[in-house]
C-alpha cells in the first residue's frame, strides 16, 4: 500500500536531493502556519505569565517570577473550575462512549434504515455549537421551554438555578453535539472486524452479549482508545456551551472560561496567561496518561472535532 514501495533505490542522489527539497518546500507553508499560532504564542504566554501585565493599568508591570502561578493555584476558583472541567469531561466522554457505541452498532448491524441513522447522526455534527447550546437553553428555560411541560417534570423546575441541574443540561448539549463523531470513529473500527469471527462464535453457542464483550470490545480497543483520547482532550476545552448557557453562573465555570475571563474580560494578561499555561500542561498530562498509561498508539489516530 505504501506508495513509494515500488520506487527505485536512491541510486541518483541528485534526484533524491531535489525530491527532498521539493518536499520541504511543499510542507513549509503549512508548518509555518501551524507553528505561528501555537508554538510561538505558547512561548509568549509563558513570558507573559511571569510578568504583571494588566492592560487596564499599563504603567504598572514587570517581572514577578512565579507570583501569577501562586495566585492562580492558591485560589479556590481555579480548583473549583478544574473540578468542574474534569467532572464534565469524564461524564460527557463516558456517556458518549456508550451512546456512540450503541449508535455505531445500530449503523453497522441494522437490518434496515442504516441510511436514515447515518443521515440523522450527521445533523449534530453540522450544527454550530453555540446554536445547539441556545436550542437546549431555550428548551430548558422555565418560561419559554417545552421541557417543563413534559410529563414527570415539574413545571417549576429552574434548570439553570442550581449547579448540578445546570451541569445536566450542559452535559446533554455536549453529548448531543459530539456523540456523532464518536459513533463514526467507532463504526470505522467496527467494520474492520471479520464477520466470520461472529459466525464461528454463534456456532459455538455464544450469546449476543458474549460476542460483544469477547470479540467486539477486545478487537476495537485501539480504535476506542484513540477516540477516547481525542474526545477527552476536546471535552477538556469545553467553552462554547457553558458560555452560552450559564456564562459560569452557579459555579459551572470551566478552566477555559476562567482563562477567557481573565484575558479578555479583565484584560489581565499576566494572570490569564498563567491560567492558559496551566491548561496547556493539563492537556499535556492527559495526553501523557493516555499514551504511557493506556498505550494509545497516537500515530494511528487522527485529528478531528
Amino acid at each position: 500500500m505504501e506508495a513509494h514501495a515500488q520506487r527505485q533505490p536512491a541510486a541518483v542522489s541528485q534526484r533524491t536531493r531535489s525530491e527532498r527539497r521539493l518536499a520541504w518546500m511543499l510542507c513549509a507553508p503549512a508548518v509555518i502556519a501551524m507553528l505561528a499560532v501555537t508554538a510561538y504564542p505558547i512561548g509568549y504566554a509563558i513570558v507573559l505569565s511571569l510578568q504583571q501585565v494588566d492592560l487596564r493599568f499599563p504603567d504598572e508591570g514587570g517581572f514577578v517570577g512565579l507570583d501569577n502561578y501562586g495566585a492562580v493555584l492558591s485560589s479556590d476558583l481555579w480548583w473549583t473550575d478544574v473540578f468542574n472541567t474534569a467532572f464534565l469531561t469524564v461524564t460527557t466522554v463516558a456517556i458518549e462512549l456508550v451512546l456512540g457505541m450503541v449508535i455505531a452498532l445500530v449503523m453497522h448491524r441494522a437490518i434496515f434504515g442504516r441510511g436514515v441513522v447515518r443521515t440523522s447522526v450527521l445533523i449534530p455534527y453540522g450544527i454550530i455549537t453555540v446554536v445547539a447550546a441556545f436550542s437546549w437553553q431555550f428548551a430548558f428555560a422555565p418560561d419559554s421551554g417545552f421541557v417543563n411541560n413534559l410529563p414527570l417534570i415539574s413545571d417549576e423546575m429552574d434548570w439553570f438555578g442550581d449547579r448540578f441541574s445546570s451541569f445536566a443540561v450542559i452535559i446533554m448539549a455536549e453529548v448531543w453535539k459530539t456523540t456523532p463523531f464518536m459513533a463514526l470513529l467507532l463504526l470505522a473500527g467496527l467494520v474492520t472486524i471479520d464477520s466470520q469471527l461472529y459466525e464461528a462464535a454463534k456456532v459455538d453457542g455464544a450469546t449476543a452479549w458474549q460476542r460483544f464483550t469477547r470479540i467486539t470490545l477486545p478487537l476495537m480497543k485501539p480504535a476506542i482508545l484513540v477516540a477516547l483520547l481525542f474526545r477527552t482532550l476536546d471535552a477538556f476545552r469545553v467553552f462554547d456551551t457553558i458560555y452560552i448557557m450559564t456564562a459560569g453562573a452557579q459555579d459551572t465555570e470551566s478552566v477555559s472560561i476562567l482563562g477567557f475571563n481573565q484575558l479578555i474580560s479583565r484584560l489581565n494578561l499576566g494572570l490569564g496567561s498563567a491560567v492558559s499555561v496551566l491548561i496547556f500542561f493539563c492537556v499535556l498530562a492527559i495526553a501523557f496518561v493516555y499514551v504511557k498509561g493506556f498505550g494509545v498508539r497516537v500515530e494511528e489516530g487522527r485529528p478531528g472535532r
Partner: protein, 280 residues
C-alpha cells in the same frame, strides 16, 4: 433467512430513538423562530400560530442597522477564505507526505497531531496582545490565521489518507512523458485528488463556521464579528424583551443550509471524518 418480528420492532425503536435524539433541537429552534413574539413563552413544542416576524426583524434596516447581515457576510467570507487557503497548503503537505521521501515526514505528522490536541484558549491571550500590536485585532485576517492553524491538521490527515489511495502510476507515466514533478502534480494528480480535497474542504469549512472562542476574543465589532459571536450579543427589541425569537431565527438561517449541505454530501463527510482513523 427469516427475521423475527421482535427483532424488527427492536431495530425500529432504536432507529426512531436515534432520529428523535438528532432532530429535536433543530425542530425546536425552527418552532421557536416561527412563534410570534407574544407566544414565545407558551412553552409549546409545536407553534399554535406561525409568524415570520422574527426573520423580518433580522434583516430589517439593511446592512447598517441589522444585527445579523454583516456578521453573516463575515462568517461566510472568513470561513470560505480559511477553507481555500487551508486546502491549498494542506494539499502541498499531504502530497509531499503521501508521495515523496524526505526526512522529517513523521515529525510533521506528529506535530500536526499535537496541534490537533492543543488547547485554543492557551493561544487566545498572546494572540489578543499580538494582534493589537500588529493591527490584526478585529480584522478578517486576525481570525483566518488561527482558523488556518487549527484546521490544517484535520485537512492534512484527511488528504494524506485520500492521496494514498490515488493510482500514482499515472503520475509516473506523466513524468516519463516529460512532465516535471510540479506539472505531474497539477495536471494529473489534482484532478484525481479533487474529490478528497472537496471532502477536506467541507470539514474545514464546518470547523471555521463553528468557532466561537476566537471569534469573541479577537473581534470587537461587526467589522469582523462572525455569527456565533454576534448571537451572544443579540439584544431584544427593547430592554424588556428577550432576544429569544431573533436568536432562534438567526440560528435557523445559519443552520439549515449547512444541514442540507451535510446531508447532500454525507458519504464524503463520513469517509473524511474517519479517513485514516483505523489502519485497514
Amino acid at each position: 433467512m427469516e427475521r423475527g418480528t421482535r427483532e424488527y420492532a427492536l431495530w425500529s425503536i432504536g432507529i426512531v430513538a436515534v432520529l428523535i435524539f438528532a432532530l429535536v433541537p433543530v425542530l425546536w429552534l425552527i418552532s421557536v423562530s416561527l412563534k410570534p413574539p407574544e407566544a414565545i413563552v407558551d412553552g409549546k413544542f409545536i407553534p399554535s400560530e406561525i409568524s415570520f416576524d422574527n426573520y423580518k426583524s433580522l434583516f430589517e434596516g439593511g446592512i447598517d442597522e441589522s444585527p445579523f447581515i454583516k456578521p453573516l457576510i463575515n462568517s461566510i467570507l472568513i470561513a470560505l477564505s480559511t477553507t481555500v487557503i487551508s486546502i491549498v497548503l494542506a494539499s502541498f503537505t499531504a502530497y509531499a507526505i503521501a508521495r515523496l521521501e524526505f526526512p522529517g515526514k513523521r515529525l510533521i505528522l506528529a506535530g500536526a497531531l499535537a496541534i490537533a490536541m492543543f488547547p485554543p484558549i492557551s493561544t487566545v491571550g498572546p494572540l489578543f496582545d499580538m494582534w493589537r500590536t500588529l493591527g490584526l485585532y478585529d480584522t478578517y485576517l486576525g481570525l483566518i490565521i488561527p482558523y488556518l492553524t487549527f484546521s490544517l491538521p484535520l485537512a492534512i490527515y484527511c488528504l494524506v489518507a485520500f492521496f494514498r489511495e490515488i493510482p500514482w502510476e499515472l503520475e509516473q507515466a506523466a513524468q516519463v512523458d516529460g512532465a516535471t514533478p510540479f506539472q505531474a502534480f497539477t495536471k494529473v494528480i489534482v484532478p484525481l485528488a479533487a474529490p478528497g480535497m472537496f471532502t477536506a474542504a467541507i470539514l474545514v469549512f464546518i470547523f471555521a463556521w463553528n468557532d466561537f472562542l476566537f471569534a469573541i476574543s479577537l473581534t470587537s465589532s461587526d467589522a469582523s464579528r462572525t455569527v456565533p459571536a454576534s448571537l451572544a450579543f443579540f439584544t431584544g427589541e427593547s430592554s424588556f424583551t428577550e432576544p429569544t425569537g431573533s436568536i432562534a431565527a438567526a440560528a435557523v438561517v445559519v443552520t439549515v443550509p449547512i444541514i442540507v449541505f451535510v446531508l447532500f454530501f454525507q458519504r464524503r463527510i463520513v469517509s473524511g471524518l474517519t479517513a485514516g482513523a483505523v489502519k485497514g
